[in-house]
Symmetry: C2
Subunit: 284 residues, 2 copies
Amino acid sequence: MEPALGIIAGSGPLPAQVARAAEAAGQRVFIIGLEGHAEPDRLAPFPHAFLRFGGAVRILSLLKEQNCRDLVLVGPVKRPSFRDLRPDGEGLKLLARIGKAAFMGDDGLLKAVIRVLGEEGFRVRGAHEILGGLVGRAGLMTRTVPDDQAKSDIQRGIAVCRALGVADVGQGCVVQAGIVLAVEAVEGTDAMLGRCGGLAWPGPGGILVKLVKPGQERRADLPTIGEQTVRGAIAAGLRGIAFEAGGTLIVERESMVAAADAAGFFVIGLGPEALGARTTTGRN
Amino acid sequence: MEPALGIIAGSGPLPAQVARAAEAAGQRVFIIGLEGHAEPDRLAPFPHAFLRFGGAVRILSLLKEQNCRDLVLVGPVKRPSFRDLRPDGEGLKLLARIGKAAFMGDDGLLKAVIRVLGEEGFRVRGAHEILGGLVGRAGLMTRTVPDDQAKSDIQRGIAVCRALGVADVGQGCVVQAGIVLAVEAVEGTDAMLGRCGGLAWPGPGGILVKLVKPGQERRADLPTIGEQTVRGAIAAGLRGIAFEAGGTLIVERESMVAAADAAGFFVIGLGPEALGARTTTGRN
């Protein structure tokens, strides 16, 4: 059988976009949708199967049957996903190989999963390698420009994200007039934005800052923003998003920018210069 | 008029406890309850007035009328409190003296307020100086003992709190099996606990870790735990609280310990040894 790109798919539009890009480049694809995470409608146009995350052994054997050597892990898999794990007997052995790393923070877990996939003979590639055009670049994407207060809030957000990243926690925070309104842990960006409305002060709204963690496993967990992120931020009274250029996937770019422009909201990519000397861009 | 201890009161039981302790030591007290924060029932037994936070000039002149030289700022003042600020004309001048510090994070603001109060001739004292008996000590307060997983989660929580504290954000986080479920910013501990129920994994519950920020202004914003904290943590599926000994106020100690013991929940004070070499205890 002709080799295929294997896609292990969580939720959102990215898995289908990876599949489409690979097919457009003449490559066969096979998607494994993780039950409870991947969205059937989005996977329908492609050869696929739905499996539980806990059925790890079945996932691996199906990928081998389909002659997938290259794998992409893409699309958020929301915690708590442990309920879905219910590992089968062989899955428990695999889990033992992942070992303590499963309890070491998000990034530790992902790195261990990628290591085990490598031991099984797969090569894990980053979604951004296939979706090069979706990686956000440095510079302003919107008509609205950050003012001085916004720039100062972005700098404070960068400092907070770096402190968090060192502790392998989250990738985002919201800053308004120097005050850190919220810090992201496992709840995810959308949930964090959801609570900011009630915490904000009057006056110019806060800024969402999203960075790549230092040493982050870029092949499986790149920060992603899109129209939904912008709409959530606007609903929470924010006035802008600053993301790490070269390390953030932008989904639904046109509709995201249109939603931002309609609301006088800015979206800006932070390059190495904006991030200062301690940037992690391009390291991993 | 005989000198009095001035108490600028936020919410909760602490302002009345400070007043009671001062009176028991033979000192006259006068409480200024911040409107929308201080609770009338709790202040009723003591000489007091209610004023807006924004009426700073009236607060200062009343404190001078009452011959208060020593001041205690005590009891949480929940953000967003800016709506209550609406500073009067003279208040705006005071705010200008606080200046940019008002936008520098919680601790920067408090330090600036204390500085301005000093310039006005007041001496700001820490609530813990008057409520010495309420400062939590190192060691276990409950019958339930933290197991190895809990100890490991406490260590991870310490690392996260330190990283956050350096960025002058929050004082707490919740860790379950090595995963940081939540990080505290301006929403406060109770709100953070409120969202943990939905984020927890099955298995042994998470641990709330609360530390003093490095360089924290201990005279105005000491971490505080009590029965409400324990009940909130139990409701969120947690199984213990670890706090920084010597830097945390324990309110309603007996009912807190009773609630914890009834639920097989632990509360432990972390001394310099548990906190490692980089402890901030006793520095400020």
